[in-house]
Assembly symmetry: C2
């Protein structure tokens, strides 16, 4: 699965063990959240001593950073695949929702409560902007809706994040709204704020998506 071109048996073995550590780590995160992740517990599950993990990661923080990177990477790949379907922003929306529901704690590792003082390394920030670029591409391909809001002007004046992308300000605005609205539904849904309210979050998500596409 994560065959990083390992040639020798030793390299293959290492890759395998690394992958298993990551799997167990995800299981723990899924079960009890990222703050409950414990190196010793992972080692125990694998039948190894805790110290052995230091052959594979420099420590707990590095492992978590790696998982965060893996989460971003999986979203970027999912997005990339969806964008190649050619179905535009709607395809991205459904891909995003599918990805989020697949593992809510993975979603929260990326979009949930930040740990004060933590800063993601640059390569992770790069993946984040890769994701935004895919979204921008999809929005730029839509036909313009004619309206120009005051926020368009502001965004046009602060388009550093678009990183040279030729999209018109309207597309930037749409990409941002797309992003914030879908995350609004998703984060409330996954955090359980809709449970007991009766309506179907999937329909609310679809309604927001329809509204975004209509303008």
């Amino acid at each position: 699965m994560v065959d990083t071109g390992a040639r020798t048996p030793r390299e293959r073995y290492r890759a395998h063990v690394r992958a298993e550590i990551r799997e167990r780590a995800w299981e723990q995160i899924t079960a009890a959240g990222a703050s409950a992740l414990s190196l010793n517990a992972i080692a125990r599950q694998m039948g190894m001593s805790g110290a052995a993990l230091y052959r594979y990661w420099a420590g707990r923080d590095e492992l978590i950073t790696d998982l965060v990177r893996e989460a971003y990477r999986s979203l970027a790949d999912t997005f990339r695949a969806a964008s190649e379907s050619g179905a535009g922003p709607a395809a991205l929306a459904h891909a995003l929702r599918g990805w989020a529901l697949e593992d809510p704690q993975r979603y929260f590792l990326v979009y949930g409560t930040p740990v004060p003082g933590y800063h993601a390394p640059d390569d992770i920030t790069l993946i984040a902007s890769e994701i935004m670029t895919i979204l921008l591409d999809a929005c730029a391909a839509l036909s313009p809706d004619g309206t120009a809001t005051p926020f368009d002007t502001h965004v046009e004046a602060h388009r550093a994040w678009a990183d040279g992308h030729p999209a018109p300000p309207e597309a930037l605005r749409r990409a941002l709204a797309f992003w914030t609205r879908l995350h609004g539904v998703l984060s409330l849904e996954l955090a359980g704020h809709f449970t007991g309210m009766g309506f179907d979050p999937a329909l609310m998500f679809a309604a927001e998506l329809a509204d975004l596409s209509a303008h």
Copy 2:
């Protein structure tokens, strides 16, 4: 501040110490997130032994639940006050944003990553629906926009959460969109996903609010 009608000196003293424990607890949460909250650390800061806190709370979980309740309560009060200004949903939006920015970790305690398996007690759920009711009132007071979406139909058929509120389905839909869109901007902003992007989150928030009011 939290004078719960304490008569005797002893009661007044207890209320005072309880309040100070809560204060220190909030300081810790603000500084390092809720998962870092430690009874012993609070006691240390107050110059007491850790065991002393058990005179005031049954344990760590009860203290956290109390803080969650306090956070909900403060948002409900903020919302109530804003609704009395008579300025409608826009006033609520600005109140929500102000409340969120005032203490991002308090915001995340309510709307951030859920702890798997945790269920808030009923009285907290009640405060949550109190908040929704205030929002619903404000949306019901708006003039109808005439459009009826398919989601309106769904929501009309699942309006249990509106708890007997006489608002028309359109108002329900608007309240939900208001809620999810503003949280979409806020949660991404507070989690730092806009940093480095250049634009002003406040303007994005305002743009979303304007869009909500326009329809």
